[in-house]
């Protein structure tokens, strides 16, 4: 079988420069991850612990199978916003009693675990992942409900959360609520809409209205325990299926529930040899160019990611700016589309469309390795129909029904982002390397376009062109676009599922592929493959 060659020179200056740049970015990411783990800060963490409670990640750790991997999703959601980085909730994919599940755990140390607009989007994204991949959803509930000052952004769209829960259930995807603390008002519908509920004795509080609200509404005097204690719900209302004596017991019961879900994956699972790549994944740090304008060969990346560095390239001599081929990761067969020299021409577009159709025909998931500045522009290309050819590619991406995974390893600009399965094209998972960028176009190009348009407009009106103002505008625009195209900015807005360390690429994609195989892996049928 064809094996990718090792062409990386770790001793070279380029490698060293790239690596240094990547490590710098990684340090920045690590710092933000530490912030996210710190939750609401030492004071609130201490207070939470003093009550004998576990932190959300401690709860997750006890729920997981020992030594099983856990992929935290969107860990840096809400970065750079008015909200705590992490968005007061931890989500991820992990294994309980051998069953891959989606976890959603409120972080009660951050404003009582209340939901802000970013938390809502993060939970929504986790729920999508549960649905699309048919993974049981486990909610670890302790939340004060909506962050009231932002209710206008949450209340109406946030209703989706409860609908999602019951629709998951209707689709045969189990939902479990482990209630550790407050789960009140709207939040009460999390246990309310779940298939299984466990409540921690003397801790869980699940009611529509607490004592003050009841007093205001009806004049009735009542206590927390009477209105929504675990004891009451387990013995009287029946909202709790199990009452746990403490948090550990609650997590034990959660594991017990999953053990009996009788879960079976619908996908074929790993079928290929899952041997490690031949080359050191640590070298991935030095491959991606620090300067996005310098193209690099995605085969050097694949050589450090795919099983045994084996890669059967498809159509290697045609449309060489896009590398396509077959391989496997952790034994899961995979088709890869990877930008090589940035630009997508007609040949690349047609090659992509054909390759996507082939993957659908054989029910093999696709990986898009993004490093594109977009489709080619210019008179000749337009006249030769670059729009039609790009449209074929976007058509194929849009209507393909095999699972798609997307990883931005450099640039993802313009319609190239669409053709290479950007967020709007619903890949099952989308990750980015720390230095990756994405925007409608590069900052200089965008500022330049604005400047040319302004200059033309001034000319048309016969007015003098203010060069100083233009320079200031260009600098400001460049700065804004640069900021908004950064991985951190995009991950904060849930435009990806997380920024990953390049060295973890194989593991992250392995976890994603395993999740994907929990659902059926089935391609689009109906037409023969169009030969381009």
């Amino acid at each position: 079988m064809p094996v990718l060659a090792n062409r990386v020179e770790p001793g070279s200056e380029t490698f060293a420069t790239n690596r240094a740049a990547q490590l710098e970015k990684l340090a920045e990411i690590d710092e933000q991850l530490a912030e996210a783990r710190a939750g609401g800060g030492p004071r609130y963490v201490e207070r939470h612990r003093a009550r004998g409670k576990l932190l959300p990640r401690e709860r997750i750790e006890l729920l997981l199978d020992r030594d099983a991997p856990f992929l935290e999703l969107s860990p840096l959601a809400a970065w750079g916003t008015d909200y705590r980085v992490g968005a007061s909730v931890v989500t991820g994919i992990g294994v309980i009693e051998g069953v891959e599940c989606v976890f959603v755990a409120n972080d009660p140390t951050v404003r009582g675990g209340s939901t802000n607009p970013f938390s809502a989007r993060k939970v929504g994204r986790a729920t999508d992942i549960a649905r699309e991949n048919r993974l049981p959803l486990v909610n670890l509930v302790e939340s004060g409900g909506a962050d009231l000052p932002t209710q206008s952004e949450i209340f109406i769209p946030g209703g989706r959360h409860f609908r999602d829960l019951t629709q998951l259930s209707a689709a045969g995807i189990p939902t479990i609520a482990l209630v550790f603390g407050n789960s009140t008002a709207g939040g009460a519908y999390v246990p309310g809409m779940s298939d299984y509920t466990v409540m921690v004795k003397e801790r869980a509080k699940v009611f529509l209205g607490g004592p003050p609200l009841v007093k205001m509404a009806t004049g009735e005097e009542s206590t927390d325990e009477e209105l929504g204690g675990a004891e009451m719900h387990a013995r009287v209302s029946g909202l709790a299926d199990y009452m746990a004596v403490d948090e550990q017991d609650c997590l034990r019961l959660g594991r017990q529930i999953v053990r009996r879900l009788n879960r079976r994956k619908l996908g074929p699972g790993a079928t290929e040899a899952a041997d490690e790549p031949l080359y050191d994944p640590a070298e991935l740090l030095g491959i991606a160019s620090a300067d996005l304008r310098v193209p690099f060969d995605p085969r050097d990346v694949l050589a450090r990611v795919v099983d045994g560095s084996r890669f059967d390239e498809f159509k290697p001599l045609y449309g060489a700016s896009l590398v396509t081929g077959w391989c496997s990761i952790h034994g899961f067969p995979l088709g890869v589309l990877a930008n090589h020299r940035g630009v997508l021409f007609s040949e690349e577009s047609e090659k992509a469309a054909q390759f996507i159709q082939l993957a659908n025909q054989i029910d093999v998931p696709l990986l898009y390795l993004q490093n594109t500045t977009g489709y080619i522009v210019g008179r000749d290309y337009e006249q030769r129909g670059i729009i039609k050819d790009g449209a074929k590619m976007i058509n194929a991406v849009s209507n393909s029904s095999v699972p798609h995974l997307t990883l931005n390893i450099g640039a993802s600009y313009g319609a190239g982002n669409y053709g290479m399965c950007g967020r709007a094209y619903n890949p099952r998972f989308l990750f980015a390397w720390p230095h990756a960028k994405s925007a409608v176009m590069g900052p200089e190009q965008l500022a330049g376009v604005l400047s040319i348009v302004a200059r033309a407009s001034a000319e048309t009106r016969g007015e003098p062109f203010d060069e100083d103002a233009d320079a200031t505008m260009r600098a400001a625009v460049e700065d804004q676009i640069e900021r908004e195209s950064l991985a951190l900015f995009l991950t904060a807005r849930l435009y990806d599922d997380g920024i990953i360390d390049p060295r973890d690429t194989r593991t992250v994609l392995g976890i994603a592929l395993s999740a994907v195989h929990s659902n059926e892996v089935r391609g689009m049928r109906g037409w023969g493959v169009f030969r381009h």
């Binding site: 991850l33 996210a36 783990r37 932190l55 990640r57 401690e58 750790e61 006890l62 199978d65 020992r66 030594d67 099983a68 991997p69 856990f70 992929l71 935290e72 860990p75 013995r235 009287v236 009452m243 746990a244 004596v245 403490d246 550990q248 017991d249 997590l251 034990r252 594991r255 790993a270 899952a274 640590a282 952790h330 034994g331 997380g498 990953i500 360390d501 060295r503 973890d504 593991t507 992250v508 392995g510 976890i511 395993s514």
Partner: protein, 607 residues
């Protein structure tokens, strides 16, 4: 007569030992076994096996011999070997008895009579006056019925206690007194006598390392002409036919005294076999067949035996039971009664195996045995291995400065099992990850390490990209994980690489390394909390009327005892104690209406 089929009226290692010789001689074998031994190796190894309801059942054993057509019975060592009644029963049934005549057994079995005999042939015996002294059972053995008396005042009480114990252990309450020689060694001489009047000695055995009069380490040869001559003289006087042992006490001043004679094969016979190159069981059979002895005893080198017991010296030699998960001993002769999968029960003697090393010199033999013990992998039960090693590596032992109280002075080094615990946790991790290709415990946002808790050791580890992160009991350990499989973990600490061999059974990890061995009980990840039992509250199963209250506060109740009866929908529901407890509160009275879930009775633990 020629023996063709031999029944061993014993179990465990000695049964296997005798079968081995039988196989070499072409003699068919019959085992008898009691129910707990149904799956024991000695039963499988015999050509035929007959179930009996206890090893001391003379009649059943002789019947088994008849049923299988066995023409000889070997009693091994122990109770039956010293039973003249059994020897007689065999003879009466026309079965060859591998051992001295019943009359000989009787003559030496009575220690008082044996002493008189010794004195008669001029062998020194211990005086029965003066203090300190020992009170011993006349029919005794194995330290039972034995008492040390340091002065006159203790004497009558000690005699009474020894008599009681002797009476219950041996059915013979007679005791006698013997001067206690402090700092003495215990040496015994192996003798063989044939039906033609030949008696030879096969040198002495050093058996001073004992605990509670149970030998632990034995050596051969002890070459002391005085003892050899005395032993042979005694055996001749008795007209000894078969293999036997004459035991002596060797005082620090060089004086020796006759102690007792054992008319049987000894547990420690292999050391003599190793230095003489003879097969004592084979010689016993030849003698029983009436063949003349043609043995010219010569000893080469030095042999040493260690008895590996399933017991914990640190806990007062508490016997340990369990299933043998691993049993690997090599480099020395191993006479064992168990193998992997064997279940060690509390029914029988806890001896697992005898390890016997033979080398040109004593120093080499000790080193060889210690090496084999160190490398031995015995998992599933706690053993005295560390104590044996402590003896073998003790400078006083090396110098030969031992007496019968030596073992009490040997300190067993406490193994610092932090690395063992780490290795056990890592091996268990590898076992859990078997068949998975994704990295163990991988996190993209790591917040804590993986934890495995053993009794006394909390292990936190993470297999990070940079390598192993390890903490034991909250303390960071700089260790490099060289390799890791479910059975073997290699760790490098301070530049030294060590191999830890791990097996797991029933929640216990057994770990061996050059740092010693450790037994680690794993603590469960979750407490199995039974809600009601945790609280002790018994509640009404549904709404109804209390018909009867049978519990009173303060009362101690047994599991299953009725406490309250509630009637609902014409059905009577009995609320019973789920376990033995004391009634702390009774919250209802007969005739009362109760809601479902209402607490009726609260129980508390009886302390």
């Amino acid at each position: 007569m020629t023996i063709r089929k031999l029944l061993v009226a014993n179990r465990g290692e000695i049964a296997r030992r005798i079968f081995r010789t039988c196989r070499a001689l072409g003699i068919s074998t019959v085992a008898v076994y009691a129910e707990p031994d149904a799956a024991a190796p000695f039963v499988h190894e015999a050509d035929e096996a007959v179930a009996i309801d206890g090893y001391l059942r003379d009649e059943a054993i002789v019947a088994a011999a008849a049923r299988t057509g066995a023409d000889a019975i070997h009693p091994g060592y122990g109770f039956l070997a010293e039973s003249p009644a059994f020897a007689r029963r065999c003879r009466d049934a026309g079965i060859v008895w591998i051992g001295p005549a019943a009359e000989t057994i009787e003559a030496v079995g009575d220690k008082v009579a044996a002493k008189e005999l010794a004195a008669r042939v001029g062998v020194p015996v211990l005086p029965s006056e003066g203090f300190p002294l020992l009170v011993k059972a006349a029919a005794g053995g194995g330290g039972r019925g034995m008492r040390v008396v340091r002065d006159e005042r203790e004497l009558s009480a000690a005699v009474a206690a020894a008599e009681r114990e002797a009476s219950s252990s041996f059915g013979d309450g007679r005791v006698f007194r013997e001067r206690l020689v402090e700092g003495a060694r215990h040496v015994e001489v192996q003798v063989l006598g044939d039906a033609h009047g030949h008696v030879v000695h096969l040198f002495g055995r050093e058996c001073s390392v004992q605990r509670r009069w149970q030998k632990v380490i034995e050596e051969a040869p002890v070459v002391d002409e005085r003892l050899h001559e005395a032993a042979v003289a005694l055996a001749r006087e008795i007209g000894y036919v078969g293999a036997g042992t004459i035991e002596f006490l060797l005082a620090p001043d060089g004086a020796f005294f006759f102690l007792e004679a054992n008319a049987r094969l000894q547990v420690e016979h292999p050391v003599t076999e190793e230095v003489t190159g003879l097969d004592l069981v084979s010689l016993q059979i030849r003698i029983a067949e009436g063949e003349p002895l043609d043995v010219a005893p010569a000893a080469t080198g030095h042999a040493i035996e260690a008895r590996l017991y399933a017991e914990d010296p640190a806990l007062g030699y508490l016997p340990s039971t369990g299933r043998i998960a691993r049993f690997e001993i090599d480099g020395v002769r191993v006479d064992s009664g168990v193998e992997v999968g064997s279940v060690v029960t509390s029914h029988y003697d806890p001896l697992l195996a005898k390890l016997v090393a033979h080398a040109p010199t004593r120093v080499e033999a000790i080193r060889k045995l210690a090496g084999a013990l160190r490398r031995a992998r015995v998992h599933g039960v706690t053993t005295n291995r560390d104590q044996l090693l402590a003896v073998l590596t003790h400078p006083a032992f090396a110098a030969g400065e031992i007496d019968t109280t030596f073992l009490d002075r040997v300190q067993i080094p406490r193994v610092d099992a932090r690395l063992h615990a780490a290795a056990a946790a890592l091996a268990a991790q590898a076992a859990r990850r078997r068949g998975h290709t994704l990295p163990s415990g991988w996190r993209n946002n790591p917040s804590q390490r993986q934890r495995t808790a053993y009794e006394g050791y909390d292990v936190d580890y993470r297999l990070a990209r940079e390598g192993l992160e390890l903490e034991v009991n909250g303390e960071r350990i700089d260790a490099l994980l060289v390799s890791c499989t479910p059975g073997v973990v290699e760790l490098e600490v301070d530049g030294v690489r060590r191999r830890f061999e791990v097996s797991r059974a029933d929640g216990v990890a057994w770990v061996d390394s050059s740092l010693g061995s450790a037994r680690l009980r794993e603590l469960p990840r979750f407490r199995e909390a039974d809600l009601l039992e945790a609280e002790g509250s018994l509640v009404a199963p549904m709404p109804g009327t209390v018909v009867r209250v049978d519990a009173e506060p303060g009362e101690e109740v047994e599991a299953g005892q009725t406490l309250v009866v509630v009637e609902a929908m014409k059905m009577e529901h009995v609320i019973a104690a789920p376990h033995a407890a004391r009634v702390a509160e009774v919250r209802v009275a007969a005739g009362e209406q109760v809601d479902g879930g209402r607490v009726l009775v609260v129980l508390e633990e009886v302390r």
